[in-house]
Amino acid sequence: MKYVFLFCGSAADQVAFDALTPEQLRDRYAQVGRWFAQHQARLGHGNQLQGPETATTVAFQGGRPIVKDGLFMEGKELVGGYTEVEAVDLDEALAMARSWPGGGTIEIRPVVMQR
């Protein structure tokens, strides 16, 4: 099965992240790097996203595209990155997600497969 992991975080997660010392930050990146290396065989396309202040939305209202600055959902949680994951089943995907060293929240979504 193919899933997408959406790496999400809250404002509080961001504050905690910003408070890391340069050393801690290096450690964190090293851990995250190891996670990606360890699961490489199961990972598809993925990216880290730039901050919410860079987001632009296009909303169709009455069929007309309205362009706006900012996020689609103005919530406490926002998506910071994503990756495709190929796993046998949800339990395998969950085991990968549980071992994620980056903190925050991971939303796991199965992908619609072509029939």
């Binding site: 796993a87 089943d89 339990d91 969950l94």
Partner: protein, 384 residues
């Protein structure tokens, strides 16, 4: 249908095999296309459950298991059941979905029966099941036994679902009938099944013991006019001794594994009460020690409330009330918090505050039997 029932009633082994068939059918069809399993198989399951209801399940089930243990294919059947239970209680499903799926697929309840037990419209339950099955298929929730590492958490999830259903039967938190003994007994049967499927795990034994202890006292929880009777006022001679002994056996066997857990401790606390001939002889010190152990595993406000009630019995209302004050925010919406607090305040002679607490408890209670008890209390106290 009746004829089929009677036929199956007489042919226990066959009926038991039919349950297994229904489960295997579910195992095969759900992940593939998410449609409800074959209606015929479900009917058989329901019929079997009814038959099991009327039999002395303990005795017959032991015979059946002894028989199965010698026959071929036993392991696969047992594993299939375990897979099914674990899938129904998968943490990726909502608690409501877990409950409905477990009752439907493992216990063979009809949609109408589940709806009645949870005082919900049939359509709500049907839709809940459809959504849950769809999620199992779409999200890739597997029918497999988790690794050793995961099993602990997954098992806890199963036991929590079973205990929630049991309490719905035993206490019936919703408005309507005060108690649904059948539901409680059905789910005790499921707990027994989990014990047999995972014979090395102590927590299922703890849960089964806890259920047996509740059921052993079940008949004395209501008086002849159908009024709820509290533990302190129950006729302990009416408690089911053999059921209690059975539960204590289970607790001791579980303790032998030296892996204490929430259900083992709760069962041990219930056993303390069950073994005591009158409320005045209760070993409150022992009970408080057990609550302290439980708090290290499950530091929840409800456990703290129960511990405070034991403190009240041991030390009187003054120190107990101080314990309760710390819980006021967390348990504001919990009727038993206000009911216990009210009783303690009465003891201290603070009638006005006590009355307010009891009225708050009454506002928060939906269950008819509990309401009646609280109303009686309010009435008696105000006429003093």
């Amino acid at each position: 249908m009746t004829a089929a029932l009677i036929r199956r009633f007489g042919a226990f082994d066959l009926a038991e095999d039919c349950v297994q068939d229904a489960m295997v059918a579910a195992l095969e069809t759900w992940p593939r296309d998410g449609v409800p399993a074959r209606p015929a198989a479900w009917l058989t399951t329901v019929a079997t459950r009814r038959a099991l209801n009327r039999l002395d399940r303990d005795q017959r089930y032991r015979e059946k298991l002894a028989h199965l243990a010698n026959g071929p294919g036993d392991e696969r059947g047992g594993d299939d059941r375990l897979r099914l239970i674990l899938a129904c209680c998968h943490p990726a499903l909502s608690r409501e979905a877990q409950v409905a799926l477990t009752l439907r697929a493992v216990a063979g309840f009809t949609i109408a029966e589940i709806a009645r037990a949870f005082v919900a419209p049939d359509a709500t339950i049907a839709q809940r099941l459809v959504r849950a099955k769809r999620k199992i298929a779409a999200a890739g929730i597997p029918f497999r036994i988790p690794s050793e590492v995961e099993l602990g958490d997954r098992l806890t999830e199963v036991l929590d679902v079973l205990y929630l259903i049991f309490n719905e039967g035993h206490l019936a938190t919703r408005a309507g009938a005060p108690s649904n003994r059948d539901l409680a007994e059905e789910v005790a049967w499921l707990a027994r099944l989990v014990c047999r499927l995972l014979p090395n795990e102590p927590e299922p034994m703890g849960l089964l013991a806890l259920m047996k202890l509740h059921l052993a006292r079940g008949r004395s929880r209501f008086d002849l006019t159908g009024q709820l009777v509290l533990l302190a006022d129950q006729d302990r001679k009416r408690w089911d001794r053999s059921q209690i002994d059975n539960a204590i056996d289970l607790i001791e066997r579980a303790a032998g594994r030296a892996r204490p857990g929430r259900y083992q401790l709760e069962a041990a606390i219930a056993a303390c009460h069950a073994e005591t001939p009158s409320i005045h002889q209760t070993d409150w010190v022992q009970i408080i020690v057990l609550y302290d152990m439980l708090l290290t595993l499950a530091p929840t406000p409800v456990v703290q409330l129960n511990r405070a009630i034991a403190v009240w019995r041991l030390d009187g209302p003054y120190s107990a009330l101080r314990n309760l004050d710390a819980l006021a925010v967390d348990l504001e919406g919990y009727h038993l918090f206000h009911a216990a607090r009210g009783e303690m305040l009465y003891e201290l002679g603070r009638s006005e505050h006590a009355h307010a607490a009891q009225r708050r408890a009454l506002e928060l209670t939906e269950n008819t039997a509990e309401r009646a008890l609280l109303e009686r209390r309010l009435f008696n106290r105000s006429s003093l």
